[in-house]
């Protein structure tokens, strides 16, 4: 027998209670893993894109479009290497499945987003086919689309000139991400802006955003300031920000995801603290004479404290790792679906391990201190 063996023997003293407690920890960390993954996902663009690109949108909101006549002025700003524009298409597949589709200039997309990898032949086809569209690998796999397919897509924002909301595009390319992270984000479709702009009922010559590829990331702040100053007090005031901030702002339209996640996790962990803390405290109360006996045998106050803390930690570590493991599997299952690339990755695991350590201390420290300070004489006398 080892000290670890003794700790586990004590954990199995009341198997049902331990299993139920363990289950509550597993559930809590499952939720933790998935919610943290959501949090990471919503700020993911930020981390892998960096500040090599800026996004210029209308100052009021990204739902307001900007005139294409701003393009030459933006392009003329020192430090701007290339500019791409995009217009949110409001795509709907079949009855009610919303898709992420933008209208853009194929050549500029290719230049500004080298992270999207596709054979040159398909880029060429995209540029040359007015009704052409390209989609990411995840999206294509999800709907079983193949190159050469004619894909009917509805737009709930932009009807065609004849009033029809149904558009038909020719799938001319399927792109991949340059690495695993970008591969997870291949759930976007792109259509040819020239065709879209000419065929839609409303508009002509307007784009939702301009995406700027910078020559030097160090100039990001200066470029953003110059552009916004350029259009200040004009009918088309702009807001230029890093792609990270733009993405965060986009998702914040549905609420402060981080805050929501934090509140849910706070509620989960507060409940968990009470459940596990009470279990450990109860377990110590039941064993006061046994703990006193350990001390009579020569185990020090620190040894006894360590035993109790190790029991609490064992429940938290086993439950926490199992919970995060299950969350990872679920994340992979959801992520492989394409539209919601959820991933319980190293960042989630890192936060999870910190949470496990914190929880172990929070639930175990007080009962452990009590056990450590136990007076042998009083404990044996039942006082």
């Amino acid at each position: 027998m080892t000290r670890t063996g003794f700790v586990f023997a004590n954990l199995l003293r009341k198997k049902t209670r331990t299993m139920l407690t363990l289950l509550s920890v597993v559930t809590a960390f499952l939720l933790f893993g998935l919610l943290q993954a959501v949090n990471v996902l919503f700020s993911a663009g930020a981390e892998f894109v960096g500040a090599t690109r800026l996004v210029t949108q209308a100052r009021v909101s990204f739902t307001q479009s900007l005139p294409m006549r701003l393009l030459p002025q933006i392009e003329s700003v020192p430090g701007v290497e290339k500019v791409m524009w995009a217009q949110w298409f409001g795509a709907v597949w079949q009855e009610n499945t919303q898709l992420i589709f933008f209208a853009t200039d194929p050549g500029r997309l290719h230049e500004v987003y080298p992270e999207y990898v596709m054979p040159d032949q398909q880029w060429k086809a995209f540029a040359e086919t007015r009704t052409g569209m390209i989609v990411g690998r995840n999206l294509a796999d999800q709907y079983g689309w193949r190159i050469g397919d004619k894909v009917p897509i509805f737009s709930n924002i932009f009807p065609q000139k004849d009033g029809s909301k149904a558009w038909t595009f020719d799938l001319v390319g399927i792109y991949d991400g340059k690495d695993q992270e970008w591969q997870r984000n291949t759930n976007v479709g792109w259509i040819n802006f020239a065709y879209f702009d000419e065929a839609n009922q409303f508009g002509s010559g307007r784009a939702g955003t301009f995406t700027l590829k910078l020559a030097n990331p160090d100039q990001a702040a200066q470029v953003a300031q110059t552009i916004d100053a350029m259009f200040e007090n004009s009918p088309d005031e702009t807001k230029t920000q890093t792609e990270k901030d733009f993405n965060l702002g986009f998702f914040k339209q549905i609420g402060d995801i981080g805050l929501i996640v934090r509140w849910i996790l706070f509620a989960v962990f507060f409940t968990l603290l009470l459940v596990v803390g009470n279990t450990i405290a109860q377990s110590v109360r039941e064993r006061i004479p046994e703990l006193a006996i350990l001390k009579t045998l020569g185990f020090t106050d620190g040894d006894v404290l360590g035993f109790v803390l190790a029991e609490a930690a064992a429940i938290c570590v086993i439950g926490g790792l199992l919970g995060l493991g299950v969350a990872t599997v679920i994340g992979i299952a959801i992520g492989s679906g394409g539209n919601f690339p959820l991933a319980v990755d190293y960042r989630v695991w890192f936060a999870g391990v910190l949470a496990i350590i914190g929880l172990s201390l929070a639930v175990g420290l007080l009962p452990a201190l009590r056990a450590g300070r136990l007076s042998i004489v009083d404990a044996l006398a039942g006082r």
Binding site: I293, T296, L297, G298, F299
Partner: protein, 231 residues
């Protein structure tokens, strides 16, 4: 038996219970030679268990000196006392106090986790201790699968396994029937006579006390008299 194993000199011990200070031992002086088997008797509240706790290093006196095996233990810190107990004392209690989640052999092995012995050496020591108490065939049983007498034998094996210099027994037969009690007392007597263990035992039972070499009577925290047991 001339060398003193235990020397208690002018020891006072008082507790505070609620608002009241309770004086338990009043200037008690006592000497127990090495290899002795002493029974401490006296009415409830006479200070028997308190004296036993002081000799076993479970508690410290309010004043006075307690020397065990030549070491002054009343001045040791809590951690030093714990280490001292691990090396020098074996305890046997009325209610056995075995760990219910461990088998008999694991219970006996528990004190050896504090030593530097390897797993194989520990197993060997455990086997010897269980053999001494006659419970080799019950090694894999948990306490709830043993009778009271068997549980107490396991407790004695646990007290013996690290080869302590003194055994402290607090009412070791208080929860047993006469026949089983006599078996346990016979075992303690054997450990004293054959293995030279110094034993200090608290008991209310005059028949149990007869197994000791000497009987010391306490009353109101003071040593009254000593008699030599018949056995």
């Amino acid at each position: 038996m001339s060398e003193a194993m235990v020397r208690v000199s002018n020891v006072y011990k008082s507790y505070v219970r609620g608002n009241q200070k309770v004086e338990v031992l009043h200037g008690l002086t006592l000497e127990i030679p090495k290899g002795d088997f002493v029974a401490l008797m006296g009415p409830s509240g006479s200070g028997k268990t308190t004296l036993l706790n002081l000799i076993g290093g479970l508690d410290r006196p309010t004043s006075g000196e307690v020397l065990v095996g030549g070491q002054r233990i009343d001045q040791l810190s809590s951690a030093q006392l714990a280490k001292w107990r691990a090396r020098n004392v074996g305890f046997v209690f009325q209610f056995y106090n075995l760990m219910p989640v461990l088998t008999a052999e694991r219970n006996v092995e528990l004190p050896l986790l504090l030593t530097s012995l390897g797993a194989a050496q520990r197993r060997k020591s455990v086997a010897v201790a269980l053999e001494v108490v006659g419970l080799s065939d019950r090694a894999r049983h948990k306490p709830k699968e043993l009778s009271g007498g068997q549980e107490q034998r396991v407790a004695i094996a646990r007290a013996l396994v690290s080869d302590p210099t003194i055994l402290i027994c607090d009412e070791p037969t208080g929860d047993l029937d006469r026949k089983t009690a006599d078996e346990i007392l016979g075992l303690l007597q054997l450990l004293n006579r054959e293995h030279g263990k110094t034993i200090v035992m608290v008991t209310h039972d005059p028949k149990a006390a007869e197994f000791a070499r000497r009987i010391l009577h306490l009353e109101k925290g003071q040593l009254l008299e000593q008699t030599t047991a018949a056995a």
